[in-house]
Symmetry: C2
Subunit: 398 residues, 2 copies
């Protein structure tokens, strides 16, 4: 578990968690993030055609660009639950809005867990009172813990930013583990800041940041119905709102990128059953789209992922994945490196398999592929593929 | 292992196997199929941009439409081996052509096994003499055994066809197990018949048959560099060659389809680590392409495959895969059945998860998905996903 200083939480936010036994009793499984004032809010959502009820609610609310509260439950995705699912999500939002006396559109609801089972409203609604009443008793880290499903540690990251003589904070939490895949954000991620940012700029910065972090990780190639990233900026710091061309836009962007990348990395490190973090770097591609396509073909190959797990410098499986990626390439130009050891030179064995096998015993593997056909490069994060992944998913319903 | 009557081998073919210790000693690992006369030959090959040397050789030879011999080695794919790989494949073909005094273009060479290691020509060439000298001592089943890699049983299928007062035979063998994926044929498949078929018709019938058999199976979504299907028709039966509109075209097509489908099914049944055969049927799609896309998204989902392995009627994972398949769909119209038990009705739980869980203990699972948005349907075969798949691929180089 990464270290986290509670001092690195932005001002003007309250947190709460409670036990509603959504799936089963024994842990805090509902959580609340409350901004003390209305905040600008940005979001990115799953592109899966089957969207969970809370995703639909968030997508509707976010049109206003404003937010106040985020409710999250783990243990149940409230997906494939039809009209009842939407009604349940709305009812939770209404209760929270009433409590804080804010417009219903300012209350966001997110869910993660098993698909196709209605939310146990008979347990959630009574517990909601406790959650709301204790809204100043908990920390952001407590929320990070409450939203875990098959995660083995809470995921939290933060950055400080100097804005004039004041210091603002961006902090984020997320949950990952399974159903993590390329074309979308991770399942649930919440980022909060006390820095004032104009909403349009906030949305643009978030979209760009997600593209190069959560959209460049893959654990099992399965895209969730619930993927959501929300970024709230309540402006409590009192700075002049950051716009596209402000003095501090660059600093904010850089800090936000660090937070999203760190969280994305934590998600992959905690991939279901994973023992190794794998970074697939594709260089020398004709453009970024092709570089990404090649990198994902390699990162999603079960055969590559099992080879890395087994410390097997089986670069043939990488050549094979590149070949079926759909990216035009010249076999005889390809170079491949495992953590700096060149295993393929001009499409052929470099006779360094033995050294490479040793390199693979490391917990962090970088596979660098140079296509030598252009100047674009991309990095995608993934993890190895183990018996434990199978065990988790054959025995446990996320 | 399926039963096989040796009487169901077409006339006019000789078979041979020998031990060349391609990868390691202890088993017959090179094989030969010889037609006693020049035969019409049809083929389909991997669409992987990285093609093995023997695939390149076969693709060049098949332009003539004629063939006489097929050499196969297991244990080494002769892929990513550059100019040396091509020279090695040609040298094997030349030796065989010289022995049978046929044109070099009539000798086909196929390889399967590890990628990136040159063929051990110092062991193959001396053994080739033994292989050629014993070309009448072995059976088609012996060849099926020699081409196995991680396969647990040889795969063979055959059909008889009445042509006038004579009876012809189509028989096929193939190897599968890993690196099996949608957009291409299985790794290696050889089909032989004594029925005379005009080459253009043979190619058209094979292409169509492969499309609906080998191209509709998936084990791990990884496409090989060596996938090859060859179909030889030597015409020994003496019938008037079958053309596109002959009296017996339908019967031949139907028998060929049965052979390819049976072999494809055997490949999936023997998928690496598999314990269950899964048929994914998508009905009610707008067209066949969309039906296929939806079926493959489900069939390739690791989460679906681990759920079936664990007897978990987790239909949410199927809804999720349909959602990210890229196929336009209406969630509220979808019905899903496990072996006849309806688990999803109009996109919602049908509260039959308990019955479905029992249905899943069967060794053959049919997942039927009705999109209710058109009239096209497609069936894709796959298998479940187990710890054993990981073990095989983390410890053993195919």
């Amino acid at each position: 578990m990464p270290e986290y200083k509670s001092s690195l939480t932005p001002e003007g936010y309250l947190f709460s968690v409670a036990e509603a036994a959504v799936k089963k009793p024994g842990r805090k499984d509902i959580a609340l993030i409350v901004s003390e004032v209305d905040a600008a809010i940005a979001g990115t959502f799953t592109t899966n055609a089957v969207k969970a009820a809370p995703v639909k609610l968030c997508m509707r609310n976010i049109r206003s660009g404003r937010g106040r509260t985020i409710f999250v439950n783990s243990g149940n995705a409230n997906a494939c639950t039809g009209a009842r699912g939407l009604k349940d999500a709305s009812e939770i939002a209404s209760n929270i809005s009433r409590h804080f006396r804010v417009k219903p559109s300012l209350s966001y609801v997110c869910s993660t867990g098993v698909i196709g089972v209605p939310l146990p409203m008979d347990r959630i609604i009574p517990t909601l009172g406790i959650l709301l009443d204790n809204a100043s008793d908990y920390s952001f880290l407590d929320v990070a813990k409450a939203i875990m499903t098959t995660d083995t540690f809470p995921k939290i990251a933060s950055q400080e930013i100097k804005i004039g003589n004041k210091t603002g904070v961006i902090a984020g939490i997320c949950k990952g583990a399974g159903m993590i895949e390329p074309h979308m954000a991770t399942m649930l991620c919440f980022i909060i800041t006390d820095i004032a940012v104009e909403q349009k700029t906030l949305q643009a910065l978030l979209k760009d940041s997600v593209k190069r972090s959560f959209n460049r990780i893959t654990i099992d190639g399965d895209m969730s119905t619930n993927d959501t990233v929300l970024l709230m900026a309540n402006g409590i710091l009192g700075n002049r709102p950051i716009t596209a061309d402000s003095k501090y836009t660059g600093a904010f962007k850089s800090a936000l990128d660090k937070v999203t990348y760190e969280l994305a990395r934590l998600v992959v490190r905690d991939g279901e059953g994973a023992t190794k973090l794998i970074e697939v770097v594709v260089k020398g591609a004709r453009n970024e789209t092709l570089a990404e396509k090649a990198a994902f073909a390699v990162a999603n190959s079960n055969l590559m992922k099992t080879a890395i797990y087994g410390n097997d410098a089986n670069w043939g499986r990488i050549m094979c994945a590149l070949g079926y990626s759909g990216v035009p390439l010249l076999e005889e130009k390809i170079d491949i490196f495992f953590n700096g050891t060149q295993v393929v030179k001009g499409g052929l064995s470099n006779n360094k398999d033995k050294q490479a096998t040793e390199a693979l015993t490391s917990k962090e593997i970088t596979i660098t592929i140079d296509l030598h056909s252009g100047k674009s490069s991309v990095s995608v994060l993934t993890c190895d593929f183990t018996e434990e992944y199978v065990r988790i998913n054959a025995e446990y319903r996320t």
